[in-house]
Structures are given as structure tokens and as C-alpha cells.
Symmetry: C2
Subunit: 369 residues, 2 copies
Amino acid sequence: MIHDDQNTTTSLDLAKIREDIDSVDQQIQQLINRRAKLAEAVAKAKFASEENPLFYRPEREAQVLRNVMQRNEGPLSDVTMARLFREIMSACLALEAPQSIAFLGPVGTFTHSAVLKHFGQDAIVRPLPTIDEVFREVEAGSAHYGLVPVENSSEGVVNHTLDCFKASHLNVIGEVELRIHHQFLVSSNTRKDSIKQIYAHQQTLAQCRGWLDAHYPGVERVALSSNAEAARRIRNEWHSAAIASEVAASIYELEILHGNIEDNPENTTRFLVIGREKVPPSGNDKTSLLISAHDRAGALLEILAPFAKHNISLTSIETRPALPEKWAYVFFIDLEGHVDQENVKAAIEEIRPLVKEVRVLGSYPIAVL
Amino acid sequence: MIHDDQNTTTSLDLAKIREDIDSVDQQIQQLINRRAKLAEAVAKAKFASEENPLFYRPEREAQVLRNVMQRNEGPLSDVTMARLFREIMSACLALEAPQSIAFLGPVGTFTHSAVLKHFGQDAIVRPLPTIDEVFREVEAGSAHYGLVPVENSSEGVVNHTLDCFKASHLNVIGEVELRIHHQFLVSSNTRKDSIKQIYAHQQTLAQCRGWLDAHYPGVERVALSSNAEAARRIRNEWHSAAIASEVAASIYELEILHGNIEDNPENTTRFLVIGREKVPPSGNDKTSLLISAHDRAGALLEILAPFAKHNISLTSIETRPALPEKWAYVFFIDLEGHVDQENVKAAIEEIRPLVKEVRVLGSYPIAVL
């Protein structure tokens, strides 16, 4: 056991404290290597008992991280400590079996950041140009897992990702949430003291309204199809600014005149992790369903009733046309709970006769960090 | 003390191994928080004894990382273990006093990767549009440290960084080496089966010669001013490819047809960390000198003689004109050793009367990772 020596922490003897740090570092290192050895033992045990063992266990990882955060007494924050453990687990997992992650590239985007946040720096990353290709790589087994954007609080739901699920039998095995910041951008040509228009996606303008009212009152706000389009457009305009990401500033070579101007600093984007297997319950899970309905009008209310009856919270509902068939719709529903729970099972069974198809896209741990 | 239980690692009981992992995790967590408390004690001791204490100590960090690598017994690799310790130290340092790092932006570039590699994920990053601004921010005290590229094995020395040192009194306090990969890029228009030209910087073409001879024998290779220029140019050409970085692929929306095609996988770029203070010896250091000579012809040989005499290894020599003065030159010399070492001191004193000025830009730990 490790004893926390209060006398040490009040000592002013720097050399003595540094000796203590060195000794603590040696113990940390021994323990991390011991953890890695235990991870190798897990791999051996799995190979002995299964033909194609799984090494990445999302439910187990979520439990470890939750435990780390719950028992954390500081001084390091819960989030910092969980991040360090994510890296330690990532290093140990890479030793058992390096995991390759396909994602919507290119490198340097928010999706790449989400991959690093979820899988740590020891995963092998494979940036791909389209969401379809991410699905295909994982289906073909060329990548262990895939990561795709699904909800962007500034640009809404990424419909293309939802559409890919309609044609795929992959499972959702995890979710990642990433905090997103908005930047106030100008080009090198811009007359900074006479900005006449500010371009951005409508939701972004709304998310920065307080800041814009305070700093650019009376300046016209113009809603465009995307923030990237706003950034692209101001390159050749002299009296315009755009609101977009740091990545867009980079791509379009714009200057960040004001950073992080969003009114709500909790502004996030959500990503889904896709894989070929199913994830057992972690104790705090979400389930994504794809429901194919005969008809939109009235169908949704009927479908929602069993969830209410079984006391299941829904966290998101999206509607997509089920083309090519006319008058049919597909609903994507996220709910709290795991399909192995009795109430979730019961609700799904009650919905089944009301619709053309209910498909469980996956049950997976709610994002920990 | 922690005992490594060999029986555990051969046991096939997965649940038992997981219990062991949980117990190891608890100990690691306690120790990391104990380390953070000791770091806080260091901060307190420093505040008690100094008016403007330094929290980031490059020589101490280098020593810790070297110790970690030297005593490492695996199974995790030395580099992986050192990376984990960099993150642990970064988290502890952020608790003492968060460090802000100015760098040549934008985010998502190799320089940003170098900042993360050297300072860990808990540093506050400040991307700036030019190298001059990085110097100014650090001089003004608006950022604790700055990070700028200095040698790029594909594009040679970054002269602009060297020129900034001529007008600045900042010190070099560290170096970072980053492995760089080359990508074979095409645009969506490119006819992949009839590529007639391959564009890149001359050094890049040389670094990929073996791969190009094997995969594109007989295809014309065209040397351009930079790899970024090569990437830009192929956007609108149908029969051309470029060799450039993943970041360039991202900025110019190009497809990576073949990844990591460099013949030598050890291809690196070097960055310097700049700051306002000097760094004490770490035991394995480098020193950067700026020497202003009266005349180029003959001057260099005279200058180099004392280094040979005192058995000092030079790792790099660069020559820059000392404009606006005609017929005067500035040499940038990197050598192995610290200015506090007798032989380095002696060599510098012998050179001093031969030249207009010798300035020690800094002594700093040789890159550990």
C-alpha cells in the first residue's frame, strides 16, 4: 500500500520532494508494466478459450473509466485522470493486439480528434474520404472499428451516416462527444474596423447570438449552408467575417480575430463508433434503434407509446425517408438502457407488430468523458 | 513495494486477472495523485523561495524521461512508457501552473503535433500565423514558451527561424524531433492509370526515389519549390500526382493513393522550443550558437578549429547573410555539450577574438523521444 506522507508535502526541501517524485515515478512505472503484463495474460486466456477473441471491450473500458472518475480524490481532476487512464489502457491494448480505426478523414479534423479521444494515441488510424468507405472497411474486416460523425450541434444530424446504417449490418459499439468551439474569422484583406456582414450556418449564428449582440450589434448576419462555406466565401471579400472552426481557418488560410465566441461553452459534436460485434451491458448504456415505419403520419406517436409505458428515456429521434419506397419512413431512435434489459426488450417487442422492421443498431456505454 | 505475482500472469481465470488489473489501477491512480500533490509541494516551495519561480524545467523533465526509458523492463516499449510519463508530467505541471505555448499554426500541422509531443495534452496552445509573432509573444511574456520549425529534412533549414534569432534575445530551451511521412497524392480528377508527371520538392523526390523507381518507373519527376506547391498544382491536372504530407492532402482535398512512401522511415523534422530563461545542464545536452563573422572565406575554418581542439562534436552548421551589412555572415552552429562545461566554455572563448560576435542561443537537453 502507498501511504500519503503529509510531512513531505509541507517540506520546503525541493531536493527531498524531487527524490520522492522519483520514487513515486518508479512505482508508477512498475505498476503500469505490471498492468501491461496482466493485459497480456488476458490476451493469452482469451486465445486459449476462444477462436477469434475480442481484445477491445468497450463495456469494460467504460467501467474502468467510470471507476477511475468515481474514486478520484484529486488533486488531478476526474477528467484529467480518466484521460491518463485512457492512454494507459490504449498502450496496454496495443500490446495485446493493435487496433486499427477507420474514420472520416482527413487527419487534423474533429473526427480525427474524436478517434484520439476515444482510442488513445496507440491506435492505428486510417483516414478515409467518405462515410461509406468507413462502413465498408469495417464490414470487410480491413479495420477493427470505424468512427463517424452523427450529430453536430451547429449543422444538425449527419444524415449520410444514418443512411449508411440502412444498408449495413454493423453495430454501434460506442459514442464519443467532443466539445466544439466557434472562431470569428477574417481574411487578410478584411477591413477589420468596417465589417458589414457575418456569415455562418444558421445554427452557429444562433449559438453565438449573445457574443455577436455584444461585439457586432447592428451588423448583418447572413445564414449559409455550412460554416465551411462561410469561411470559403470571405476569402475574397473585404467587409465580411465568417464563423467557423479552427480547422476551417486553417484550410482557408483565415485569421482568428476572436476565439471561442460560442455563448454556451458546452457546445458538442457526437460521433458513433461502429464495429462487427455486440457490446454486453456496462451498467450505464444507450441503445440506437432503426425503425422502418409504413407511414409517417400517426406512426411516430404509436411507436413512442411503448417506451413511455416501460419508463424508457429517449435521447434522440431522427426521421429519414426510406427511399426508394414512397410513403415509408425510417426513424432513428436513441434511448437510455441496454437491449439486454427487460424493459427495453419488452418495449421493442411491443413495437415490432406496429412497424415494418425494428433493428437494434447497438447497445453501448454512454460516453464517459 | 509492489510484487510481481508470476502465478497471476499464467492463470487462465479472466475474472481473477481483471480483479488484479482493477487493484493495479487503483494503486496507479493513488500514485499519480500522490505525484500531483508532490508537484504542488514543489510549486509551494518555489513560491516561498523565489519571486518569479519557473515551473517548467526542461532539464529535469529530460532527466525523468531518460530515467524512465533506462529502467524500463517492459512489456511496454521505452518510447510508449516515456510518452505516458510525458502526459502524467504535463497533467501535474498544469496543476502547478498551466503553460501556454505559442507556435507556428494553424492547428493540425506538424508544428502542432510537435507541441503536443513535447508539452503533452494539458498545455494551452496558441497557434500564430507567422514565426515572428511566435517570437514576439514569448518576448512579451504573453506565452510561456514558443515552438518553431528549424530543420525539415524535405525542405532544408527554415531560414526564417534562424533570422528571427538574429533580432531576438530569447533562448533555445529545447528541441523536438518529429518523424515525417510522405504521401503519394492525386486529385479526384486524376486518371490514376496514366500518371505522366510526379511533382514534389527535390529533396522529397530524392527521399522517395526507391519507391518511385519500383512503382512509377519512367514517369517524369518534376521538382517544385515545396511539397505544398506540388499538392496545390495537381488539383486541376488530370495526369499528375504530388508527394506531400497528410496535412497538405487535407488542405487541398486530395486523395492519398499510396501512404508513407519514403525510402527511409526515419525521416524527421526538427523544432526548437524558445523561452526567456536559460536551462541548467541535464547531463546530455546540445548548445546552439550564433556567430557573426567578418568575412566568409576562411572564417569558417578558423571558427571550427577550437571545437575540434576541445573535442566537441558539431551536429549542424548553417550560414546566413547578416544583412544589411555586406560581406558579413552569420553562422548557426549546434554542438553537443552544455555551455557550463569547461571544454565548451574554452572553445567559445577562443573563438570570440576571431569574430564580431558569439552569442549562445541556448543549451538544452537533446531530444529524448
